[in-house]
């Protein structure tokens, strides 16, 4: 289970904030793996451990060492990091 994509997205089914992040990942054609968690916050220990919070989306980017929550922050980060001049 090693050697996966550098970017891991913690997401929840039918979460619009998660889809917003997915759209930007797709826009820049970034390879990422999705880890789906459960709706109840109490069942999101993995997200808490990784990011310090229980909210999704959360992203871990091994390219830059960045771990981040909150979709607006993540979207800004992706534009700044991968938007470039293409």
């Amino acid at each position: 289970m090693s050697d996966g994509p550098a970017i891991t997205l913690y997401r929840l089914q039918a979460c619009p904030f998660c889809e917003r992040v997915v759209r930007v990942l797709d826009e820049y054609d970034l390879d990422y793996s999705s880890r789906f968690v459960e709706p109840r916050h109490s069942r999101r220990n993995v997200v808490k451990r990784v990011s310090g919070k229980r909210t999704v989306p959360a992203i871990v980017d091994e390219n830059t060492g960045v771990t981040m929550t909150e979709s607006a922050n993540i979207v800004d980060y992706l534009h700044a990091t991968y938007g470039g001049e293409a």
């Binding site: 996966g4 880890r35 789906f36 968690v37």
Partner: protein
């Protein structure tokens, strides 16, 4: 009064056998915290895999199988990654992992495509529109060669756990 008990014979099947290469597949692999798409070959890259196919979570066959595997502690006693597979969805797998105190991850294959690939499909108990896995066990080594294969011929039928254990010892 005759209380004779009939087991049901399952149709003959041409399932994956020992010596063959285990077909690769990718499905959501569910652990106690999350699920993500994982391929069988990604697991075998890390060493041998014991793939345990079972009928849908919730009735006694899946429960008994995982209780037995937990009690035999295969994951600790052998250098093997034990993983399950059934048609149950990831949320149901999460519940089974919690309820049965399972230390292993479970693949979710609701459309039973892997069952077709492995020749272990089962039109369970006449439920309309449902095809699932018949109970089956495959021990797959790091080259993805099947070292041991068993698929149920009757319903209900459970793996011969001692035979599986002998195969694990022979790894």
């Amino acid at each position: 009064m005759d209380l004779g008990f009939d087991v049901v014979d399952l149709p003959e099947t041409d399932h994956v056998e020992a010596g063959e290469t285990a077909p690769d597949f990718t499905r959501p692999l569910v652990n106690e915290e999350y699920w993500e798409d994982v391929s069988l070959s990604a697991l075998t890259d890390d060493g041998p895999v014991l793939l345990v196919a079972h009928t849908m979570n919730g009735a006694f066959p899946a429960t008994y199988t995982w209780n037995e595997i937990r009690d035999r502690d295969w994951g600790e006693r052998f250098d093997v990654q034990v993983v399950g597979i059934s048609v149950s969805d990831p949320y149901a797998h999460t519940r089974l992992i919690e309820d049965r105190d399972i230390d292993h991850a479970l693949f979710s294959d609701p459309a039973a495509g892997v069952a077709a690939e492995y020749g272990i499909e089962h039109d369970l108990d006449g439920m309309a529109g449902v095809t699932e896995f018949r109970p089956a066990v495959f021990l797959v080594d790091a080259d993805r060669t099947v070292q041991y294969a068993w698929a149920s011929q009757e319903w209900p039928e459970f793996p011969d756990y001692d035979d599986v254990e002998a195969a694990l010892e022979a790894l």
